[in-house]
């Protein structure tokens, strides 16, 4: 019973994001499987550019594999994370659908307005947006405050400049150690040459002291 509901939702989203239809129509009839262990889902592109959940016997034309951390980064709109998804099969199709899925936006204000009217919907949506923005700002503030506390009062986190100094010290130490090693090798070489030069040519016995 889940598939009809999800299909209805997907089609609703595609209708709201009318640009998506044009992107998908060239791939009509193809299916893409999204693997995000432990769950996976297959989507089929319909002839009108809509999206449906694929059936129980569908053969995917492309597969997109995403690990959970990458999926979370994608949700947070981290562009770099998209490159870490693994694409197999028809990559052009997988790319097109992934792009659409990433950029689909739910116009909740529009949907809400149909139930409760334009003005209340706008008020609720504005309130929602302000609340989300407020929470984001507050949590950022709190994080910064905690970081400062742990750096200055209870040093649990190292300061950036200390870390940089430590790293450059490590580099200097490594270079010094390598130089010392080289010098030591050279000295050894010299010592061997001297030992060879001192040995009498027709005697195999080592001279006793």
């Amino acid at each position: 019973m889940l598939k009809p509901i999800l299909t209805r939702l997907l089609n609703h989203l595609i209708t709201q994001n009318s640009w998506a239809r044009a992107e998908l129509i060239p791939f009509a009839g193809k299916s893409v499987r999204f693997n995000m262990p432990p769950i996976s889902a297959s989507l089929t592109i319909l002839e009108d550019g809509g999206l449906a959940m694929a059936g129980d016997a569908s053969q995917p034309d492309a597969t997109v594999t995403i690990s959970l951390p990458i999926a979370l980064r994608l949700l947070a709109k981290d562009e770099a994370a998209a490159k870490q998804a693994r694409l197999e099969g028809d990559t052009e199709l997988a790319m097109a659908l992934s792009k659409v899925m990433q950029n689909l936006e739910w116009e909740y204000e529009e949907d809400l307005s149909r139930v409760i009217g334009d003005i209340p919907a706008n008020k609720i949506a504005t309130f929602g947006r302000e609340t989300v923005a407020g929470i984001k700002k507050q949590s950022l503030n709190a994080a910064e405050m905690l970081a400062e506390y742990w750096q200055e009062e209870q040093p649990m986190i190292a300061k950036k400049r200390h870390v940089e100094k430590f790293i450059s010290d490590v580099d200097t130490l490594r270079d010094d150690a390598e130089r010392l090693g080289k010098r030591f090798d050279k000295l050894m070489e010299k010592l061997e040459k001297q030992a060879v030069g001192n040995t009498p040519p027709n005697s195999t016995e080592t001279p006793s002291s």
Partner: protein, 251 residues
Amino acid sequence: MTDSNKPSTDQTHFGFKSVAESEKAGKVGEVFHSVAKKYDLMNDVMSAGLHRTWKRFAVEVSGVRKGDRVLDVAGGSGDLSKLFAKKVGPEGEVVLTDINASMLGVGRDRMADEGFSIPTLQCDAEKLPFPDQHFDCVIVAFGLRNMTHKDKALAEMQRVLKIGGRLLVLEFSQVWKPLAPLYDVYSFKLLPLMGKLFAKDADSYQYLAESIRMHPDQETLKQMMIDAGLAKVDYYNLSAGVVALHKGWKI
């Protein structure tokens, strides 16, 4: 062979009974003549209104767009034709067909009452009166199991499809195993009883229950569609497999 369960070459199933192939269409006709007037009420009662969800899902998965040409085979009371008519808009076309005049009459009247004027045709699905490659989508909902030669009917539907067109088959199917005993009680005890109460016709509903059991399961029907020349056949189990929606492409 005297095995009465196995129909010989010119015998076919009519519910759990075996009848001569030439008789099946007539017998199915009697059933639907008898239930036509109360068909929609009974559908709602029997499926608890779910048949509407199944049909709407079929229309959504069809991918039909404005201006498309759709054939509704065995469409009877016209539920699907109405949904499709909304989807294809005035520039598209939906054709409603059924072999049974009583059912078709109910469907046509209802369409007219609701303001849809769509061509309505009485014809046999095994001999469709349309040229090759004529439709973008052909759908048969709860009709295939009543046809005498399912393979011929599927091949005909494939013939009238355009290249890139879709055939959708919405039909009762094999229910999820753990639920099978419950479903048995429902369909053999409750269904005829409800038929008696609401439509005063227990025998017809007994036939409906039996014909559902004789219908091929998901994988068999998928193979039949492939044999009929369709490609990339996929199916959806709806309501735990009570109903399955098959979709195949002509390529």
